[in-house]
Protein backbone atom coordinates (compact mmCIF):
# COMPACT_ATOMS: atom_id res chain seq x y z
CA UNK A 1 0.00 0.00 0.00
CA UNK A 2 1.63 3.22 -1.25
CA UNK A 3 0.30 6.73 -0.97
CA UNK A 4 1.33 9.58 -3.30
CA UNK A 5 0.64 13.16 -2.18
CA UNK A 6 0.77 15.56 -5.13
CA UNK A 7 2.49 18.89 -4.59
CA UNK A 8 1.40 21.78 -6.79
CA UNK A 9 2.96 25.23 -6.50
CA UNK A 10 0.61 26.76 -3.94
CA UNK A 11 -0.42 23.54 -2.20
CA UNK A 12 -0.44 24.13 1.56
CA UNK A 13 -2.19 21.03 2.85
CA UNK A 14 0.47 18.71 1.40
CA UNK A 15 2.33 18.13 4.68
CA UNK A 16 -0.91 17.69 6.66
CA UNK A 17 -2.12 15.16 4.09
CA UNK A 18 1.27 13.40 4.12
CA UNK A 19 1.09 13.00 7.91
CA UNK A 20 -2.53 11.88 7.85
CA UNK A 21 -1.45 8.82 5.85
CA UNK A 22 2.14 8.44 7.12
CA UNK A 23 1.71 9.09 10.86
CA UNK A 24 -2.04 8.73 11.23
CA UNK A 25 -2.41 5.46 9.34
CA UNK A 26 1.25 4.36 9.29
CA UNK A 27 1.31 3.86 5.52
CA UNK A 28 4.28 4.38 3.15
CA UNK A 29 3.70 7.88 1.81
CA UNK A 30 5.71 10.18 -0.45
CA UNK A 31 5.40 13.43 -2.29
CA UNK A 32 5.07 13.65 -6.07
CA UNK A 33 5.83 16.98 -7.76
CA UNK A 34 3.17 18.20 -10.20
CA UNK A 35 5.71 18.25 -13.05
CA UNK A 36 6.52 14.57 -12.63
CA UNK A 37 5.08 12.28 -15.26
CA UNK A 38 4.56 9.12 -13.21
CA UNK A 39 3.06 8.14 -9.86
CA UNK A 40 5.57 5.37 -9.19
CA UNK A 41 3.04 2.64 -8.53
CA UNK A 42 0.95 4.49 -5.93
CA UNK A 43 -2.25 2.80 -4.76
CA UNK A 44 -3.88 6.04 -3.66
CA UNK A 45 -3.17 9.49 -5.08
CA UNK A 46 -4.06 12.35 -2.74
CA UNK A 47 -4.53 15.91 -4.04
CA UNK A 48 -4.11 18.21 -1.03
CA UNK A 49 -5.65 21.52 -0.07
CA UNK A 50 -4.21 24.92 -0.82
CA UNK A 51 -4.20 27.31 -3.72
CA UNK A 52 -2.60 25.43 -6.60
CA UNK A 53 -1.13 27.88 -9.12
CA UNK A 54 -2.61 30.69 -7.02
CA UNK A 55 -6.11 29.51 -7.93
CA UNK A 56 -5.78 31.95 -10.84
CA UNK A 57 -8.64 31.98 -13.37
CA UNK A 58 -10.69 29.51 -11.26
CA UNK A 59 -9.77 27.18 -8.39
CA UNK A 60 -8.05 24.18 -9.95
CA UNK A 61 -8.29 25.49 -13.52
CA UNK A 62 -4.53 25.68 -14.10
CA UNK A 63 -3.64 22.65 -11.96
CA UNK A 64 -5.86 20.55 -14.18
CA UNK A 65 -3.26 20.95 -16.93
CA UNK A 66 -0.22 20.10 -14.76
CA UNK A 67 1.89 17.28 -16.29
CA UNK A 68 1.08 14.82 -13.46
CA UNK A 69 -2.64 15.02 -14.28
CA UNK A 70 -2.22 12.68 -17.28
CA UNK A 71 -0.86 9.99 -14.92
CA UNK A 72 -3.66 10.65 -12.42
CA UNK A 73 -6.24 10.35 -15.21
CA UNK A 74 -4.73 7.03 -16.32
CA UNK A 75 -4.57 5.81 -12.70
CA UNK A 76 -8.27 6.64 -12.22
CA UNK A 77 -9.20 5.02 -15.54
CA UNK A 78 -7.52 1.81 -14.31
CA UNK A 79 -9.67 1.87 -11.19
CA UNK A 80 -6.95 3.35 -8.94
CA UNK A 81 -7.93 5.42 -5.92
CA UNK A 82 -7.83 9.21 -6.19
CA UNK A 83 -8.70 11.44 -3.25
CA UNK A 84 -9.01 15.23 -3.39
CA UNK A 85 -9.26 17.34 -0.26
CA UNK A 86 -10.49 20.96 -0.52
CA UNK A 87 -8.41 22.44 -3.39
CA UNK A 88 -7.79 18.84 -4.47
CA UNK A 89 -11.57 18.39 -4.77
CA UNK A 90 -11.78 21.58 -6.85
CA UNK A 91 -9.01 20.29 -9.14
CA UNK A 92 -10.76 16.92 -9.63
CA UNK A 93 -13.99 18.72 -10.59
CA UNK A 94 -12.13 20.99 -13.03
CA UNK A 95 -10.42 17.91 -14.51
CA UNK A 96 -13.79 16.23 -15.02
CA UNK A 97 -12.81 13.30 -12.79
CA UNK A 98 -15.70 14.29 -10.51
CA UNK A 99 -18.96 15.90 -11.65
CA UNK A 100 -19.99 19.48 -10.82
CA UNK A 101 -18.01 22.57 -9.84
CA UNK A 102 -17.21 24.67 -6.77
CA UNK A 103 -17.93 28.40 -6.76
CA UNK A 104 -17.63 31.29 -4.29
CA UNK A 105 -19.32 30.69 -0.93
CA UNK A 106 -22.84 32.15 -0.97
CA UNK A 107 -21.94 34.20 2.15
CA UNK A 108 -18.89 35.59 0.27
CA UNK A 109 -16.79 34.87 3.37
CA UNK A 110 -13.83 32.56 3.72
CA UNK A 111 -15.19 30.00 6.19
CA UNK A 112 -12.78 28.34 8.63
CA UNK A 113 -14.87 26.43 11.20
CA UNK A 114 -15.56 22.96 12.60
CA UNK A 115 -18.53 21.37 10.83
CA UNK A 116 -20.92 18.62 11.83
CA UNK A 117 -21.34 16.37 8.80
CA UNK A 118 -23.88 13.64 8.18
CA UNK A 119 -22.40 10.48 6.69
CA UNK A 120 -24.40 9.27 3.68
CA UNK A 121 -24.84 5.60 2.73
CA UNK A 122 -22.52 5.63 -0.30
CA UNK A 123 -20.35 2.50 -0.33
CA UNK A 124 -19.91 -0.41 2.07
CA UNK A 125 -16.83 1.29 3.49
CA UNK A 126 -18.16 4.85 3.35
CA UNK A 127 -21.46 4.60 5.19
CA UNK A 128 -23.11 5.47 8.51
CA UNK A 129 -22.65 1.83 9.51
CA UNK A 130 -18.87 2.15 9.10
CA UNK A 131 -18.29 5.75 10.18
CA UNK A 132 -21.28 6.51 12.40
CA UNK A 133 -24.16 8.78 11.38
CA UNK A 134 -22.30 12.02 12.03
CA UNK A 135 -18.67 13.17 12.11
CA UNK A 136 -16.88 16.45 12.78
CA UNK A 137 -14.25 17.90 10.44
CA UNK A 138 -12.96 21.45 9.88
CA UNK A 139 -13.57 23.36 6.68
CA UNK A 140 -11.32 26.17 5.46
CA UNK A 141 -12.31 27.62 2.11
CA UNK A 142 -13.73 30.56 0.19
CA UNK A 143 -14.95 28.52 -2.78
CA UNK A 144 -16.75 25.44 -1.49
CA UNK A 145 -20.21 26.13 -2.86
CA UNK A 146 -20.94 22.93 -4.78
CA UNK A 147 -22.91 23.36 -8.00
CA UNK A 148 -24.29 20.85 -10.47
CA UNK A 149 -27.26 20.92 -12.87
CA UNK A 150 -30.54 19.20 -11.96
CA UNK A 151 -29.88 16.14 -14.10
CA UNK A 152 -26.41 15.77 -12.59
CA UNK A 153 -27.77 16.11 -9.06
CA UNK A 154 -30.40 13.44 -9.75
CA UNK A 155 -27.66 11.10 -10.97
CA UNK A 156 -25.52 11.78 -7.88
CA UNK A 157 -28.42 11.01 -5.57
CA UNK A 158 -29.64 7.98 -7.52
CA UNK A 159 -26.13 6.46 -7.55
CA UNK A 160 -25.51 7.30 -3.87
CA UNK A 161 -22.44 9.33 -4.80
CA UNK A 162 -22.87 11.85 -1.99
CA UNK A 163 -20.44 11.01 0.86
CA UNK A 164 -21.00 13.84 3.33
CA UNK A 165 -23.51 16.64 3.89
CA UNK A 166 -23.22 19.70 6.13
CA UNK A 167 -25.59 19.69 9.10
CA UNK A 168 -25.63 23.51 8.81
CA UNK A 169 -24.79 24.60 5.28
CA UNK A 170 -21.78 26.97 5.56
CA UNK A 171 -21.33 27.87 1.89
CA UNK A 172 -24.62 27.48 -0.02
CA UNK A 173 -23.75 24.09 -1.55
CA UNK A 174 -26.64 22.51 -3.42
CA UNK A 175 -28.13 19.70 -1.31
CA UNK A 176 -25.70 20.73 1.49
CA UNK A 177 -23.16 18.52 -0.30
CA UNK A 178 -19.71 18.47 1.32
CA UNK A 179 -18.16 15.49 -0.48
CA UNK A 180 -18.83 13.12 -3.37
CA UNK A 181 -17.37 10.15 -5.21
CA UNK A 182 -17.49 9.21 -8.89
CA UNK A 183 -19.95 6.62 -10.11
CA UNK A 184 -17.32 3.87 -10.25
CA UNK A 185 -16.37 4.51 -6.62
CA UNK A 186 -12.62 5.10 -6.99
CA UNK A 187 -12.42 8.92 -7.12
CA UNK A 188 -13.33 10.82 -3.94
CA UNK A 189 -13.50 14.54 -3.20
CA UNK A 190 -14.53 16.63 -0.23
CA UNK A 191 -14.19 20.20 1.03
CA UNK A 192 -13.74 19.27 4.75
CA UNK A 193 -10.21 18.50 5.96
CA UNK A 194 -9.56 15.04 7.45
CA UNK A 195 -5.88 16.06 7.28
CA UNK A 196 -6.59 18.60 10.02
CA UNK A 197 -8.49 16.18 12.24
CA UNK A 198 -6.35 13.24 13.28
CA UNK A 199 -3.73 14.31 15.86
CA UNK A 200 -4.32 14.21 19.62
CA UNK A 201 -4.22 18.02 19.69
CA UNK A 202 -6.82 18.42 16.92
CA UNK A 203 -10.41 19.36 17.79
CA UNK A 204 -11.58 16.09 16.19
CA UNK A 205 -9.87 12.85 15.17
CA UNK A 206 -12.61 11.76 12.75
CA UNK A 207 -10.22 12.36 9.84
CA UNK A 208 -8.56 8.99 10.48
CA UNK A 209 -11.80 7.06 9.95
CA UNK A 210 -12.56 9.10 6.81
CA UNK A 211 -9.14 8.40 5.26
CA UNK A 212 -9.49 4.74 6.21
CA UNK A 213 -12.97 4.61 4.61
CA UNK A 214 -11.63 6.01 1.33
CA UNK A 215 -8.83 3.40 1.29
CA UNK A 216 -11.17 0.61 2.38
CA UNK A 217 -13.44 1.33 -0.58
CA UNK A 218 -10.81 -0.45 -2.67
CA UNK A 219 -8.78 -2.31 -0.06
CA UNK A 220 -11.33 -3.76 2.41
CA UNK A 221 -8.61 -5.64 4.33
CA UNK A 222 -7.05 -2.31 5.35
CA UNK A 223 -9.79 -1.74 7.90
CA UNK A 224 -8.29 -4.36 10.19
CA UNK A 225 -4.63 -3.50 9.60
CA UNK A 226 -4.82 0.19 10.52
CA UNK A 227 -7.62 0.11 13.09
Amino acid sequence: MNIAVIQFPGSNGDQDTFHLFASGLGLPTRYVWHKDATLGGADLVALPGGFAHGDYLRCGAIARFSPIMAAIRAHAANGGLVYGICNGFQILCEAGLLPGALIRNACLEFRCVMCDLSVEPSTAAFSPAALGPSIRLPISHGEGNYRIDDAGLSRLEANRQVLLRYARNPNGSIGSIAGIRNERGNVFGMMPHPDRAFERFHASRDGLAVARAVLASRFPELEKRTA
Binding site: L57, E94, I103, R104, N105, N145, D149, G172
Partner: protein, 82 residues
Protein backbone atom coordinates in the same frame (compact mmCIF):
# COMPACT_ATOMS: atom_id res chain seq x y z
CA UNK B 1 -4.81 40.22 -33.53
CA UNK B 2 -6.55 41.06 -30.28
CA UNK B 3 -9.35 38.97 -28.85
CA UNK B 4 -11.57 39.83 -25.92
CA UNK B 5 -12.97 36.75 -24.20
CA UNK B 6 -15.93 37.35 -21.89
CA UNK B 7 -16.66 34.70 -19.26
CA UNK B 8 -19.91 35.00 -17.30
CA UNK B 9 -21.72 32.82 -14.76
CA UNK B 10 -24.46 30.75 -16.40
CA UNK B 11 -27.92 32.30 -16.09
CA UNK B 12 -29.21 29.51 -13.83
CA UNK B 13 -26.10 29.40 -11.61
CA UNK B 14 -26.06 31.32 -8.37
CA UNK B 15 -23.74 34.35 -8.58
CA UNK B 16 -22.87 35.40 -5.01
CA UNK B 17 -20.58 38.19 -6.21
CA UNK B 18 -23.26 39.61 -8.47
CA UNK B 19 -25.76 39.53 -5.61
CA UNK B 20 -23.35 41.38 -3.30
CA UNK B 21 -22.59 44.03 -5.92
CA UNK B 22 -26.35 44.37 -6.45
CA UNK B 23 -26.88 45.05 -2.74
CA UNK B 24 -24.16 47.71 -2.80
CA UNK B 25 -25.68 49.37 -5.88
CA UNK B 26 -29.06 49.49 -4.16
CA UNK B 27 -27.54 51.06 -1.07
CA UNK B 28 -26.00 53.72 -3.33
CA UNK B 29 -29.52 54.53 -4.51
CA UNK B 30 -28.99 53.11 -8.00
CA UNK B 31 -32.68 52.70 -8.82
CA UNK B 32 -34.39 50.29 -11.20
CA UNK B 33 -31.74 47.60 -10.81
CA UNK B 34 -33.03 44.26 -12.11
CA UNK B 35 -29.92 42.12 -11.91
CA UNK B 36 -26.13 42.03 -11.67
CA UNK B 37 -23.82 39.30 -12.89
CA UNK B 38 -20.09 39.47 -12.36
CA UNK B 39 -17.86 37.80 -14.92
CA UNK B 40 -14.40 38.33 -16.30
CA UNK B 41 -12.73 39.77 -19.37
CA UNK B 42 -9.63 38.03 -20.72
CA UNK B 43 -7.64 39.91 -23.35
CA UNK B 44 -5.60 37.78 -25.73
CA UNK B 45 -3.00 38.98 -28.18
CA UNK B 46 -2.29 36.37 -30.81
CA UNK B 47 -0.06 36.27 -33.84
CA UNK B 48 -2.41 34.32 -36.14
CA UNK B 49 -4.87 34.73 -38.98
CA UNK B 50 -8.63 34.52 -38.39
CA UNK B 51 -9.29 31.19 -40.12
CA UNK B 52 -11.90 28.47 -39.37
CA UNK B 53 -9.05 26.36 -37.96
CA UNK B 54 -8.00 29.19 -35.65
CA UNK B 55 -11.62 29.71 -34.51
CA UNK B 56 -11.85 26.01 -33.68
CA UNK B 57 -8.69 26.21 -31.57
CA UNK B 58 -9.94 29.37 -29.87
CA UNK B 59 -13.28 27.72 -29.06
CA UNK B 60 -11.31 24.80 -27.63
CA UNK B 61 -9.24 26.84 -25.18
CA UNK B 62 -12.26 28.94 -24.18
CA UNK B 63 -14.15 25.74 -23.36
CA UNK B 64 -11.30 23.78 -21.74
CA UNK B 65 -9.37 26.43 -19.84
CA UNK B 66 -10.75 29.97 -19.89
CA UNK B 67 -14.27 28.92 -18.81
CA UNK B 68 -15.82 26.00 -16.97
CA UNK B 69 -18.92 24.88 -18.92
CA UNK B 70 -20.52 23.55 -15.72
CA UNK B 71 -20.91 27.04 -14.29
CA UNK B 72 -19.90 29.55 -16.96
CA UNK B 73 -20.67 30.72 -20.50
CA UNK B 74 -18.14 32.39 -22.78
CA UNK B 75 -18.19 34.55 -25.85
CA UNK B 76 -15.44 36.45 -27.59
CA UNK B 77 -14.97 39.30 -29.98
CA UNK B 78 -12.07 39.73 -32.33
CA UNK B 79 -11.04 43.38 -32.16
CA UNK B 80 -10.89 44.84 -35.66
CA UNK B 81 -7.53 46.37 -36.45
CA UNK B 82 -6.28 45.17 -33.07
Amino acid sequence: MKINVFVTPKKNVLDPQGAAVGHALESLGFGGLKGVRVGKLIELEVDAADTPDFRARLDGVCRDLLSNPVIEDFRYEIVKGG
